[in-house]
Each structure stands twice: as structure tokens, then as C-alpha cells.
Symmetry: D2
Subunit: 266 residues, 4 copies
Amino acid sequence: MDRKINVTIYNENFHESTIPQLKTVYPESIHGALRSFLEKDSDIGTLRIATLEDHEEIMTQEVMDDTDVLIWWGHAKHPDVSDEVVDRCAKRVLEGMGLIALHSAHASKLFQKLLGTETYWVRWREAGEKVRLWNLAPNHPITQGIGETFVVPHDETYGEPFGIPNPDELIFLSWYQGGEVFRSGCTWHRGEGKIFYLQDGHETFPIYYQPEIQKIITNAVKWACPIKRACKIDRGGPNTPALETYELEDHDFLLLDAKDHPAFQK
Amino acid sequence: MDRKINVTIYNENFHESTIPQLKTVYPESIHGALRSFLEKDSDIGTLRIATLEDHEEIMTQEVMDDTDVLIWWGHAKHPDVSDEVVDRCAKRVLEGMGLIALHSAHASKLFQKLLGTETYWVRWREAGEKVRLWNLAPNHPITQGIGETFVVPHDETYGEPFGIPNPDELIFLSWYQGGEVFRSGCTWHRGEGKIFYLQDGHETFPIYYQPEIQKIITNAVKWACPIKRACKIDRGGPNTPALETYELEDHDFLLLDAKDHPAFQK
Amino acid sequence: MDRKINVTIYNENFHESTIPQLKTVYPESIHGALRSFLEKDSDIGTLRIATLEDHEEIMTQEVMDDTDVLIWWGHAKHPDVSDEVVDRCAKRVLEGMGLIALHSAHASKLFQKLLGTETYWVRWREAGEKVRLWNLAPNHPITQGIGETFVVPHDETYGEPFGIPNPDELIFLSWYQGGEVFRSGCTWHRGEGKIFYLQDGHETFPIYYQPEIQKIITNAVKWACPIKRACKIDRGGPNTPALETYELEDHDFLLLDAKDHPAFQK
Amino acid sequence: MDRKINVTIYNENFHESTIPQLKTVYPESIHGALRSFLEKDSDIGTLRIATLEDHEEIMTQEVMDDTDVLIWWGHAKHPDVSDEVVDRCAKRVLEGMGLIALHSAHASKLFQKLLGTETYWVRWREAGEKVRLWNLAPNHPITQGIGETFVVPHDETYGEPFGIPNPDELIFLSWYQGGEVFRSGCTWHRGEGKIFYLQDGHETFPIYYQPEIQKIITNAVKWACPIKRACKIDRGGPNTPALETYELEDHDFLLLDAKDHPAFQK
């Protein structure tokens, strides 16, 4: 990669702003925790942060055009996110921008728009259970530095069935103390963009301070970064004029008027 | 299958209503052509038809709840389709209703919502070229009665790259006289529903009267029909209360208050 | 389906023959347990049984040509299975015969040949742990009659990473008491045949007498049954003579002698 | 990548040795043509070459352990390749070594072993037809520097149906003058290794001197190179002793003797 990776973080920042106890978990909010380790990585370039409050001002077309990878954390306030911003981000993913969807971002407008399913469809339980993640892809860029298995000591539980399209790659499976399992690390391709979903990260636990989780997110940012910042695809689709086909030299086959069709000469 | 398959056809019916010459191709509109062969099949039950003009009255929640498979043909008037109807249909596909998307339905709101991509993204050319379809899945229910290859004498050309997610199954590949190729028959699963896309069927050619195409669509309707008419999934997701987990007998692990987390006792 | 489904069961029958205590678990061996419920299903036709001892006599080309679905259980004696029989069965799967691979059949010659991996590659532990299976595909033919989750009270533990190619469909995920997770129900397509793998079924526990397991295997047999008993593919590949192409009228392009290539005229 | 990529090329070298005219096409054999452009790339480290004649001496365990990516070209003499070398190479792919299978390598023992199908199953015709490749994945590492479409002026024709498992990624589709289409650029993952198949490259045409083909192969080598040279997986599978599970503290659940099972206490 001959350029730095520009990252934009969207964090709802609602729970952290309204529940005083969360200050002990995320004193600088979840986006602050994410920034704290990403900004130390020398491959990361411009690192922008948007919250529910300011996302319409921050996540402009210009900023998204300059973004390689978007990280999304949202939970209680998905409906309040601007449809215009969501459309802009979805279009950018189709053009090649990477997307890292964290935890309850599975129910965000953006993730659902790109995945094509209403992925509210999970079991869940807030009981601070132990989670054990299993690494199914030891040679994948996202799992470098991660062993065969590791534990998140306490997290919200998500359980199958998870209403996602079959992932292109299944990276992590999670085991929960209470009996559930979950496809907790998945990748998909949409258009020219790569998407990674990681289940871990409830706001009441300091999960984004855990070294394995930081390593996974950092790896995922590098994996999701497009080779070129933007494909700038003309989404209207190129109409190749009938007289400019690649392989035809004799154009008398043209039947631009349906009346010429042999079926209608009888 | 112990019940008949209820089919609802949406056909935009705009070109047929406004271009007089098309009366020679589709005297009863495209929906009439589709109905003409489906109604002869003894597995088909209630067959309903909706057009752009009346789709909001016809495609009610009650009708869609009673529909096993939805067939969609649209082209010039995608934006005029009711968002409410699209959301209703998408939800039904996630619950198990089959969807057969024909020709330019790749650019319909419904298909794009379910596939998660803005699939305008194709090459295209209206030149009435010869199309040769290749059958890649001779043991698949959709291809029964179809040989290794067949020709659509004249159709609109679509060309790769086609901005779709990797299909679950690639059923047909098309060769076009002018040099293009296209993934012309594809399946996907979304939620509990099955989706089949078939590229063929431009309004200026009598493609839906061609026996192979009729056979493919009839087969696809039977393939896409869900085992049960509706899963009626509670899309809010079942929250399993913390005291009712499957596998835990001792609930002292519960950390419902973040302050109790060991990380914050230091 | 207008014919009965012919099923052939291969069971190694080594443990049952050599460990007296297993008589209390499988008094008629594992193949007897499988036969006991399959023979009650009115869709099942000829039901043949082969063991390690007699598989070369039983699993002839004639028998395999008359088989719709092969069920395979093997464990300690994989290397002793005839390569000729394995090749015959693999070829039949590519022609459309279904394969249900049970438990340690993941390490059988046949499964590994068809999947292309040496799937010894699992974690495992014989500790009679509780297993909880989760149903990820409630609308799939294999899961009809199975709820969201069920328990196998005691089984051998298998754990990820499981060295399989990405399944076409992930049907079941298993949670084990000791902390492991496993993709315990998976489907693949190979050639024209369908393959289903089910992890459950260690010889020391009466798992094949459990109603859910019997239902899953019965469903899988029906799902895996090919539409036609055999594709009888000419595996040498059809060479289309140069003068009989589909789309060329002018054959002067033929360059059967490399010396004619323009690159060599300079 | 902090190391050079070690590449081993296997080329059958039978046609070039026995058909005098081919000296005008591949004066240094196909392996010479492949070497000529790979050795110019500064990311490539040790570049070894093996032919049918010497492959048993060259492709030792030591050499394969030191190889990051294996390129394979074979055609008429697949059966003469050493089974021991094939097994060694297959095991190395499962451990992470990349494999680039060129042209008729689809019918090699190694490719068939890893893909799990007897992929003789293609249509084919030696008529020197024009081939047009379409790039379906413009943001993929393998297609960098390749435009939307390009032409191979003359090549052997391959046609669908191609008996491969559904590719993980479909990179190129080919259009042939005579009416065929083919999935000519495909990727799969097997174990920890990546596989890329490229259809182009009949021995009678100078295809490996074409800049687009050279670019694709060079890109594919870099894409297929594993992050670590070898996973060195213990393929016997790690047995986790029953008394050393991750998640159990109380081991009285152990039922190592089947007689203890509750089902047998009645």
C-alpha cells in the first residue's frame, strides 16, 4: 500500500453521554477507545470521528470520498441516523470503501442496506457472560497475532439464528457461557467493497481495551482498505451503443423495432 | 408439497400500455404471457396479478401473507413503486416467500433492497442480439427439462460486470453475439426466502412465449416456494432473560451493572 | 419424486464387533440403528447395508448405480476401505448420488476425496459432554420438524477449526459444555451430487436412537436424493469438433497449426 | 510482506520437447516463458523449475517447505506425475502454500485432489478461436492493471459446464467466438491455502507472452502468497484431554464408559 489508510469512525455516543456509570468503562466514549489504538498504527492516515450529534456535518460527500475504511458503532439510535448519510456511505462501500461493523451495528441502517436483510434477527441477553471466540481462519489477514481461541470475560450475548446472508468467510465463532453460539466474525463483499462484522463490544464492558479485540480491528481496517480509494463507478451502467459492439462486424442483425421480429411476420 | 403454490405477479405494464407496437409482442401484456403458462400448471394455486397502476390496492399485507412466490417484472418505472409495498414484500421474502426477479427487475427497489447492492451496475445494449444460455446445473430443480444450451433468438444484451453479491448458485451463463457474457441465472438465499434472477425478457421480444423460458420460470416457482407459507419471525429478536439461559445453573456471574466489573475495582 | 429412494448404508462395524459393552448401546450395530428408522419411511425404497467386512462384495458398480443416497459411518478403519469402492462412490456423487457423512466420516477417504481437504483437522475429546445444536436454517428441508435448538445429552466433542471448505449452507452449529463450538451440520455440492455432514454420533452413545437425529437423517436423505438417479456424465468431456461450433459460420479462423499464428510470421 | 516470495513452477514440458513447431511458440518451453516475467519482479525470491522429467528430484519436501506459491502447467502427462509429489503439494496447500493452476491443470491430479472433483468435465475444442475475458472483480488484487475486458487472440476453447465447486470468487468470465462461455478465472480456499485457476494458455499459442496474462499471473502469485510460509498444522488433530477442557471445572460429567450412560441404567 503506497498511501496511508484514512479511517472514519461513526460512534452513536448516546449511552456514554447519558449513563454516568459508563464513564468508568469508556471515559472517552467508544470512539475514543477505538481512536486510542488506531492512531498509534503507522499505516493509519487521517482519522475522523463522527457521532450521532454531528454526523451530518462530518460525514459529507467530500469526507467519505477521502475515507478508505468506515468503522460503525450504533445501538439505540439507529433510526435517528440520516438516510442521506447512510445512502452516501452505502454507495461508497459499493465503490470500494471498507466497512467494519461493530456489535449492534448489525441492526444499523447501513449494515442492513448493504446486507439486504433486517438483521435484528438474533437472540440476545445482557448478562455479562463469558464469551470464548474460536479462530477459524489462522492464515487470514484479520486473525494475524490472534491464537486459536481467546476469551472476552464479559459481554452481551448474541445467539443464532443470525439473519445474515451466508458470509463469504467465517472468521470467528463464539461460544457463550449460557449455551448460545454465534457467527461473531464474518466477511462479505458488496460491490467493490469489503465488509467485516465483529460481534464483540457491548458498551457496559471495556471490550475495546482488550488487546485481542484491538488487534482484530486494526487488522480488519488494513484488510478492508481498497487498493484504490475509489472506483468511481458510473452507476447508471454503461450503455454500449448498438453500432459499437466488440464482436460484430455485420450489423444487419439489429432489430430495434419489434415489428421486424420474425415471430410477427406470420 | 401438500398445498397449491400461490403466485403473485407484479408487472409494471408501462411499455405495453404506451407503445402500440408492443401489442404485437405481448397482446395481453407481459403479465398475461406469464399467467398463460403458469395457470396451466396443476401445482399453481391462486394466481394474482398487480401492475404499477393497482399494485398498492392488490399487494396488501393480506395478499402477500397468502403468497408463496412473487414474480417481478419492472423497468422504466421502478421509482414509482410504493416504498410501503416494497418493504412489505422484502419482509415476506425474509420470512420465506420466494422471489423470481425477471430481466430489468435487477434494478427494482425490491431486488436491490434484498441483494444489498445498487445493481444498475451492468453493461447493456438494445440491439436484439442472439443470446446463448449455458446450463451450469443440470441436476438443479430449476433446469429440469432444459438441455445443456439453448438460444434466445433476440434479446436486450446485458454484460458483466454485474454488481451482484456472489450468487449462492450459478445456474445459467449467457453468451451474446456482440461479445458480452452475463450471469443470467442466479440464486440467493435471504433470511428464509429464496431468490432467483433470470436475465431474459426484454419487452420488445416474445421471450416469455419461448418454451424453455416458460419451463425455467415454472420450475423456479416450484423451487422458490417455501415449505411453510410463512415463518412469521418476530423480527425484534427474542431476548432470552438473563435468569432463563439454557446452560447456566448458577447466576452469580451476572454483571448487569458495569461498576461491578473487575476491571473497575482496581 | 416419482420413485422410491434407494439408500445404501456403509457402516464400518468395527467397534460394535470388538467392544462388548457397545452391545448395550447399539445391539444391532450402528447400521441396524440407522436401518430401524429409515425402513419405516414410505419414501425409502431398497435399503442396502455394507460393512468393512463385506463392502467390496456389496458396493459393486451395479449397486451404486442403483443407489440414490449413500450414508457413511466410519472411524478407526478408514485406511482399510477399498480404494476402488471409494473411487466408485466418489464418481457416483459427482454424477448426482447424495452422500450423508456421519460423525467421524469426516476423516474417511470418500469425504476427504470429495471435499478436497484432509479433514482430520479438528479438535476432539471423548468426554461425553453435553452438546447443544442450534438450527440456523429453519426453512431448509433438512431441519423440518426440528426446533430452534436441541440437546444431545452426551457425545464426543469436536472443535473448530474444522478443515473444511466453506460450506454451501451452514445448517447446524454446536455448543459443547467444555467450551468448543463446531459447524456440525453442513452441505456442499460436488459435481451433480449433494453432500450433508452431521457431526453427531459417537459409537459409545445411543445418538442414532434420538428422535431429532433420526428426523435430521431422514430429511437429509430426501434432500440429497437426486432428481434423476444418475447423470451418467461422460467424464472425458465432450470435444466439440472445430467444424461444428455453435456460433461460427466462417471457419477461416482455424489455426490448428501454430505456425500459422501471426506472431510467428514476423 | 517482509520476505521475498519463493515460487516453484511445475511444467510438464512434454509438448515443447516433442513437437518441433512449438519451438517457435515457446523457444524456452512454457516454464521459460513464465520465468521470464516472474524473475523481473522484485517481490519474487527463489524461483525453482521442475518438469515431468525431474519433478521427483526437484519437488522434495525441503523445497516445497521453502515454497510460497506453486504454479502448475500440465496436460498430456497428468497420470505420470508422482503421487508422492502430489500428496506433498496438496498437504502444503492445506498448510498455506498458494497454488496457481494454469489451463489444463484443471485435470491434474493436484487440482482434482484439492477441489474434490474430476474436472475433466469441460467442453473443449482446439480451433484457435478468439477469447474475450471479462473482469468481474476490478478491485481484486489479481485484476490490478487489467481493464474491464481484453482479448486473447487465439486459444483452445473450454466451455461450461465446468465441473468445479462453486468458486469463492469469480474473477474472469470468458466469451469464445464459437459460442461457449467459461469461468476462466476462479479462486478457492482449501485449508489455509489459496488457489487461483486461469484457463488461458494452450501450448500452441504464445499466450504467456501476452502482457495481460503476465500481469494476472504475477498478481495472482502475490495474492496467493501466505502471510506465513507454513502453518505446520499437526494434521492428526489436537486431542484435548478430558480433564483439560477450557470451560469445565467439575468433571463428574465424564462418561468415558458407555455403561454409565443413563440410557443403560433402566
